[in-house]
């Protein structure tokens, strides 16, 4: 069933029913895995194709649909793994990767897990290990489509609030109470919980709705430009002030100014905001004139402002000016069945955008979504569904449409023992390595922060990282 060729055909040769379509890359020669694969192909029901090198593999991938890619990694296994994950992203059929390596290290196995690689198998390839992975691939093909629930009619548009969970009902009640006043509102919640959507809704239902809604993302704008962005500047006030600029406070006149990520502002700028809030007037950078401003202010943050005050990073007087009413948004994980409603809402939204009719979600995909941690809350979910909508080919979103990182979390797949033995249970060292890797991922690779979370000295962490090849 194997045909090493120069010019790839438009897919695997003679695909047979129920066969798993496998593209093996490299490894031709005496010690390579190809010889074994050829012998097992019929028995394991795989349609096998072989590409001699990366460029040819890329042509094969573009030319047909594959279920699995078996790639032999060389000396730079970490970088090669990343390359393969990237190369397979968006390939027809969303093939999964099995990395083959001589004596795979713990670091490689953990990295593979993080990247959503289906498995890392040691060379020489063992038939049982491959059969096991193929079994997982076949069982994943039995997904049942569930219809997406209807979403409330008012949940339309780009900034809709979707959800019926008790936690969100409390938020709605508080919003209804503050919307009709002009009170300053502080919205708190983790990243991606929908703070700007809440701010826009308050604006739309309040007296400031006749005016504009102007949002400023304090975390996005470089520190040296934020002041002029907020208050404007006169021509020639500083290098780069090529013309007079009207700031966001003035732009929001008669409406609402939404200051997002307010905790990211410097203390000096906080003092200027305080003055603007207290005295209702501002001065443009490089201008001596006081300009009156009438705006409703809504601020938001994902940080604990009380803690920031205690650390001297946030002004207490500004906090009390902003937190006249505080709305706390729940994490997606605390919103129960809202997840499904949000999936339905986003699937419909992106289905329309990309000209697709998406009506269902598979049972396994739903399970994956329910089990995911959602560090980025609704924003992360929105991203996942948009990506799924882009790659979906029919009316149902399935696991193959989800990012590799999520697919790697599939329930029923036990945490893989890296070095084998022990009936598949990990050793203490493996569990420790896995936990360290998880914490490092959480802190974005920052060793100091990871050491704090783990409660160990950074030197100890550095040593362990070296030991485990992380």
């Amino acid at each position: 069933m194997t045909r090493p060729t120069q010019d790839p055909p438009a897919g695997p040769a003679r695909p047979s029913k129920d066969a798993v379509r496998v593209l093996a890359v490299g490894g031709e020669g005496g010690a390579g895995p190809l010889q074994s694969l050829r012998q097992w192909a019929a028995d394991l029901k795989i349609d096998l194709e072989w590409a001699a090198d990366l460029p040819r593999a890329t042509r094969f991938l573009a030319g047909g649909r594959w279920d699995l890619v078996l790639a032999a990694l060389g000396e730079r296994s970490d970088e090669e793994l990343t390359w393969w994950v990237d190369a397979l992203r968006g390939a027809p059929g969303s093939p999964r990767l099995i990395a083959l390596a001589d004596r795979p290290s713990m670091g490689l196995a953990l990295r593979a897990e993080k990247l959503g690689v289906l498995d890392v198998l040691a060379l020489p390839l063992e038939r049982e290990a491959l059969a096991n992975v193929l079994g997982r691939v076949r069982s994943a093909a039995t997904e049942v489509a569930l219809p997406l629930p209807p979403v409330e009619a008012e949940a339309q548009g780009h900034y809709a609030l979707v959800g019926q969970s008790p936690a969100m009902l409390e938020v709605y009640k508080l919003m209804a109470r503050v919307a009709h006043s002009t009170a300053t509102v502080l919205i708190q919640g983790e990243s991606g919980t929908g703070k700007e959507v809440v701010a826009r809704t308050i604006h739309q239902h309040g007296p400031a709705a006749v005016g504009p809604f102007v949002a400023v993302n304090c975390a996005a704008i470089p520190e040296n430009l934020l002041e002029s962005e907020l208050f404007g500047h006169e021509k020639g006030a500083f290098t780069g002030a090529v013309a007079r600029k009207i700031g966001r406070f003035e732009q929001a006149g008669g409406g609402t100014l939404f200051l997002d990520e307010i905790a990211d502002m410097s203390l000096a700028l906080q003092a200027k905001i305080l003055r603007a809030v207290q005295e209702r007037e501002i001065e443009r950078v490089g201008g001596g004139e006081s300009i009156p401003v009438t705006v409703r202010l809504i601020a938001a943050t994902n940080r604990d402002l009380q803690e920031a005050i205690a650390q001297g990073r946030f002004r207490e007087d500004l906090y009390y000016r902003l937190a006249v009413v505080t709305i706390q948004l729940p994490r997606l994980a605390d919103r129960g069945e809202d997840l499904l409603l949000l999936v339905a809402y986003f699937a419909r939204q992106f289905g329309e955008r990309y000209g697709k009719r998406i009506e269902g979600l598979s049972d396994r995909a739903l399970e994956l979504l329910r089990n995911h941690q959602w560090v980025g809350n609704v924003r992360e979910l929105r991203n996942v569904i948009e990506r799924a909508a882009i790659v979906s080919t029919d009316a149902t979103l399935r696991t193959e449409h989800l990012p590799d990182e999520l697919r790697a979390e599939e329930p029923g797949v036990p945490e893989r023992a890296i070095r084998g033995g022990g009936g598949g249970l990990p050793t203490l060292a493996e569990a420790e390595a896995r936990h360290i890797a998880r914490v490092l991922a959480h802190t974005g690779g920052q060793i100091g922060a990871a050491a704090d979370v783990l409660g160990i000295h950074r030197n100890t962490l550095t040593r362990k990282m070296k030991e485990y090849g992380l």
Partner: protein, 426 residues
């Protein structure tokens, strides 16, 4: 600490450039920021850097710096020894070698200084081949620095000398260099003439690598001139020459150009395929990720996705290119990526996208890159501002772009920007 804060504490000294590079390549995004509302606007300046991480990674960087300096010192001593032995051509070769080392680590200005010293020595020799070699190297580095007229002058001299010496390879390289200089200044007919001349000379000796390279350049030129059929033919011939040689880097360049051609012809599928295969060829030949070519191909892939309205995928690709550029210290690539991210935000109707242009300008200034990069950022920034009702700012940025393009002698770009300024006034 944020990179933008850390950079403010770092004086702009040439000796500290590796430290600056280390700082940028050590920067990591805070996972919390990634999903925060500031996440979509994350630039290298907003990434976090840990002093401890710098300390940990400083050793290997210092070792590389020491190795580089040692190689330069060695090249200099070798030049002295050869000069003392009366082997002036050998001394020139050693000095040119030092320049090439500088180019390899991304220091074109320093490379230029070495080549100029080598040229002064070579000019006094009876044997003109060292002078040709030096002039070709100088021409190349001038083009990289955006000094197109200067580069053309060196290539012209190299051509005259190599023809006098019957050095056909030198004449071919000089002709291609002259074509490249004309190409950069959008002088299409001049470029065509030089490439055609190089092609004629090469066809006679059957040097497939050079043939493939020239066909590639002709393909790029034909595409710029709007002759897509001819571009396709040249690129196909380039592939035929290069694939049999297994010349990975050259194949990647040709496939990258093929991807751009397919994109221009409205064939996004084949274009994406060509870009992906180009990446595979780079990977095959250069296992170290993050070479400039890798970043450039990803940039083109992102442009394709942006042009076809696949904004989410375009952004993902740009972010991958950004990560690669940051970790491998490809700051020129970063400038291009941030300019494109700003354009992407503009397409999304997001005014806060201006932060990307600001970051790109800051990088241009901090890294003393070629002025043409800065001009391109100002140009795109002007168009962005134009979309958001800031005509005064738009005009100021476009005028700045025009000024830089004019100083570089890129008349076609000057005309393009002038047309945009005219439209702004109308």
């Amino acid at each position: 600490m944020r990179v933008e804060q850390a950079l403010r504490l770092l004086p702009s000294l040439e000796a500290l450039m590796p430290l600056r590079g280390l700082l940028l390549s050590s920067a990591r995004p805070d996972e919390r920021v990634r999903w925060g509302s500031g996440g979509p606007y994350l630039t290298v300046g907003k990434r976090e850097v840990e002093p401890g991480e710098l300390t940990r990674r400083m050793g290997p960087v210092l070792a590389v710096v020491a190795e580089h300096i040692a190689a330069l010192y060695g090249a200099y001593v070798e030049a002295l020894e050869r000069q003392e032995r009366g082997d002036a051509p050998g001394a020139v070769t050693a000095l040119v070698g030092a320049g090439r080392l500088e180019e390899r680590v991304g220091r074109p200005t320093q490379a230029q200084a070495w080549y100029e010293v080598a040229l002064a020595l070579a000019e006094a020799l009876q044997d003109r081949r060292p002078e040709v070699e030096t002039l070709l190297a100088l021409g190349h580095v001038c083009l990289a620095l955006g000094q197109y007229a200067e580069g053309a002058r060196h290539y012209q001299r190299a051509l005259v000398l190599s023809e006098a010496e019957f050095d056909q390879a030198g004449a071919v390289d000089a002709s291609v260099g002259l074509g490249n200089a004309a190409f950069e200044r959008a002088e299409w007919s001049g470029a065509q003439a030089w490439y055609a001349r190089a092609l004629r000379l090469t066809e006679a000796n059957g040097d497939r690598l050079r043939l493939g390279r020239i066909e590639h350049r002709l393909g790029l030129l034909a595409r710029r001139q709007g002759d897509h059929a001819a571009a396709g033919d040249h690129l196909r011939r380039a592939r035929e020459c290069l694939e049999v040689l297994g010349a990975g880097r050259e194949m990647a360049c040709v496939l990258d150009a093929q991807g751009e051609l397919d994109a221009a012809l409205g064939r996004p599928g084949p274009a994406a395929g060509a870009f992906r295969e180009a990446l595979a060829w780079v990977r095959r030949d250069e296992p170290d990720p993050g070479g400039g070519l890798d970043v450039a191909i990803r940039f083109h892939l992102a442009e394709l996705l942006l042009d076809t309205g696949r904004l989410l995928e375009a952004e993902e690709e740009m972010r991958r290119a950004e990560q690669l550029a940051i970790t491998s210290n490809q700051t020129r690539g970063l400038v291009q990526i941030y300019t494109l991210l700003g354009t992407l935000r503009g397409r999304q109707g997001d005014e806060t996208g201006f932060v990307f242009f600001e970051q790109a300008i800051a990088l241009c200034r901090a890294l003393d890159g070629p002025p043409v990069d800065e001009a391109r950022v100002y140009h795109a920034y002007g168009l962005f501002r134009q979309s958001y009702g800031g005509p005064d700012e738009a005009r100021a940025y476009l005028e700045r772009a025009r000024e830089i393009f004019r100083s570089l002698g890129v008349d076609a770009e000057v005309e393009r920007v002038e047309a945009e300024l005219h439209a702004l006034s109308a």
